[in-house]
């Protein structure tokens, strides 16, 4: 087990990248702490699988170095890196039995037969396939096969890290939850570093200690689920995490007030003058609708009941403004005023969050 450090890493699939768009992975420096469970979250095509394959050594990066602990493994083949990886679609050796499949990574490393047998049986118990151990893998269903793939990924105890590339795509919803819980339990038990790639925010937020959000070939934010929710560092994080995503409105910011058109929105702190495209972001959870008084005038077009709460879909001059309304609170369609909780408003310049002066001062100190 080891800490994984990426230094100046970038990757392009074209031989001579000229345009920034040619880079599937833009320059990246980060450290993955030993023993943590990470989720790598992003929409498809954002570079998360590329990053995963570079870490596992299936792909050689165009530039930059990869360190496991203090060792530079950039040029080391996959086998030497001692990692396990589970792929999106089941990879099983069809002609082998389930038992042989699970034992395969151990046998290839020359593990002792007795150890292999015990280890395979405990993994089989974990994925719930003890009964099928001596069946051929060939005729099994897709989710049984994927469970074997997961089992093969976890069968080795000495791995530096276990990488999961959207491993639950083909699994039934109820099984998904169960397997994720088991992965989590396994993580707590053995303390492997785990990196879990997904495009599903629920999966990411429930699995990981820390979530790494990727967008357009960059890591836009790394943080705990709470940090991602409360302080999205990039408009993409705000939009991608949460349901519905963060409201974003073009605004002008002067001191402690944001101006959306002619309407003043109070902020919780003082901001230095900024240049470029400025937006304010507020999560629907922190928007309250009132029928009179202060607030941004909006037109509520629809109210959706999603169970424990309701979502009011509204617009301010064509821009969508959503609000989460508690069960039982009276809200109707038509004109209303939207009030934003000032301490929950984030200010973005060119999509990146800027902090108020007070916070910057704290950080500097």
């Amino acid at each position: 087990m080891a800490r994984i450090t990426l230094s100046g890493l970038a990757h392009s699939y074209v031989p001579d990248p000229a345009d920034p768009d040619d880079w599937a992975l833009k320059e990246l420096n980060m450290t993955w702490q030993d023993g943590s469970a990470y989720a790598l979250l992003g929409a498809s095509g954002c570079g998360k699988s590329t990053l995963l394959n570079i870490i596992s050594g299936l792909l050689a990066p165009s530039r930059g170095r990869v360190f496991f602990g203090e060792t530079d493994v950039t040029d080391a083949p996959t086998a030497e890196r001692n990692i396990a990886q589970v792929f999106q679609f089941p990879v099983v050796y069809d002609t082998m039995t389930v038992r042989q499949n699970l034992a395969f990574p151990l046998r290839n490393r020359g593990a002792d037969a007795d150890y292999v047998r015990r280890r395979v049986e405990s993994i089989a118990a974990m994925i719930g396939m003890e009964a099928e151990l001596d069946r051929k893998a060939r005729g099994l269903t897709a989710d049984a096969k994927q469970k074997i793939s997961l089992g093969r990924g976890m069968v080795r105890e000495d791995v530096s890290a276990i990488l999961f590339d959207e491993p639950l795509t083909v699994i039934d919803p109820h099984m998904k939850w169960e397997l994720r819980t088991q992965l989590r339990a396994l993580h707590q038990q053995f303390g492997h570093t785990m990196i879990y790639v997904t495009h599903d925010q629920t999966e990411a937020l429930t699995f990981a200690d820390r979530v790494v959000v990727m967008h357009d070939g960059r890591v836009v934010q790394t943080g705990t689920p709470e940090e991602l929710f409360e302080r999205p560092e990039h408009t993409f994080v705000g939009y991608f995490i949460g349901s519905p995503g963060m409201n974003l409105l073009d605004a002008q910011v002067f001191g402690d007030t944001a101006w959306v058109g002619d309407h003043a929105v109070p902020l919780s702190g003082n901001y230095r003058p900024v240049r470029g495209r400025v937006q304010i972001g507020i999560r629907p959870e922190f928007v309250s609708l009132t029928s009179d008084g202060e607030g941004l005038p909006v037109e509520v077009s629809r109210v959706e009941d999603v169970g424990r709460y309701r979502i009011a879909r509204a617009h301010h001059e064509g821009e969508p403004v959503n609000a989460v309304v508690a069960e039982g609170a009276a809200v109707g369609t038509g004109r209303a005023r939207a009030v934003f909780a000032p301490e929950r408003i984030n200010v973005y310049v060119e999509d990146w969050r800027v902090a108020p002066e007070a916070e910057q001062g704290r950080a500097a100190r």
């Binding site: 299936l58 083949p77 086998a79 990886q85 990879v91 005729g139």
Partner: protein
């Protein structure tokens, strides 16, 4: 595949049925007809019963041709299948070189069979052929028109030259269907090259390899043109395979009765072996679905 029952589908099959009936059933009936009759010329025929079948079954000439045929098919399968797999494994996976190798490899398959014979007839000649001339100058006493072993080697090398590509292309198609993730998983599991072949590539090629073996078996069992052009069945009868013998009998000597009986039994043998292959293939398919 859940297919709906619909007897009207017969109308869609009808054109094929009529066409194949015309070009297969009628000629086959003619063959059956001849096989049980004797003729003394003048289009007069007499009932001969199973006489011709007995004659063929006990004919040493046919036995020998059958023996040669089986040995020939066994040898070329034993060479072409492993070699074809090796070539498929060695082919570039994509890009310019992949296209180029595909075109070059497929080329022998599209040469008329007698031209294949002609190419090797020339190539092996000791006076004007590169192969024969080189061997002669290396001190090898090689002459495919005189020496039975040399004739056999020439015919086998020619068949390998002509048909290994078919096996290679089929195997290549099987390999292309393997998702990249399988190779990646194998790397992560530290599988050896042999394990990758044994547990990933071979199982995925199984289906197409069966097709390849079936096609190669059938076609090698029916081989006529290429050895006929090169050796004419000789020297002596050394390379007289079943088809060559049959054509000699039917068109050369015009022994219609025995030739017809021979044809029917020849056809039945191929059918029988192919049926075994077909059953095995279907069973494998079913086992895969279960």
């Amino acid at each position: 595949m859940n297919r709906t029952v619909n007897q009207k589908a017969w109308f869609l099959v009808l054109p094929v049925l009529v066409l194949v009936a015309f070009s297969a059933v009628i000629p086959l009936m003619t063959v059956v007809n001849y096989s049980v009759q004797d003729s003394f010329g003048n289009n007069q025929f007499f009932w001969a019963g199973l006489e011709w079948f007995e004659e063929i079954l006990t004919s040493e000439r046919v036995h020998n041709a059958l023996g040669r045929q089986i040995v020939f098919s066994a040898i070329i399968l034993a060479i072409e299948v492993p070699l074809g797999i090796l070539v498929a494994l060695s082919m570039p996976k994509r890009g310019f070189w992949a296209s180029l190798s595909l075109v070059l490899i497929a080329l022998p398959l599209l040469i008329p069979w007698n031209v294949v014979g002609t190419i090797w007839q020339i190539f092996g000649r000791v006076d004007i052929g590169l192969l024969g001339w080189t061997l002669r100058n290396l001190g090898v006493d090689y002459n495919y028109t005189q020496n039975a072993l040399d004739a056999w080697i020439t015919v086998i090398v020619m068949d390998v030259w002509h048909w290994t590509s078919l096996v290679a292309l089929l195997a290549y198609a099987g390999l292309q269907s393997i998702p990249e993730a399988y190779y990646q998983a194998a790397k992560i599991d530290q599988a050896s090259r042999w394990s990758v072949f044994r547990y990933i590539e071979l199982p995925k090629m199984q289906g197409v390899l069966l097709i390849a073996i079936l096609l190669r078996f059938m076609d090698s069992f029916m081989i006529y043109t290429e050895p006929f052009v090169v050796t004419g069945g000789g020297p002596g009868n050394a390379t007289t395979f079943l088809s060559i013998d049959l054509v000699k009998m039917a068109l050369g000597q015009f022994d219609l009765g025995p030739a017809a009986a021979f044809s029917l039994m020849y056809f039945l043998v191929i059918l029988l072996i192919s049926w075994v292959f077909y059953t095995v293939m279907v069973n494998l398919d079913r086992r895969g679905e279960r």
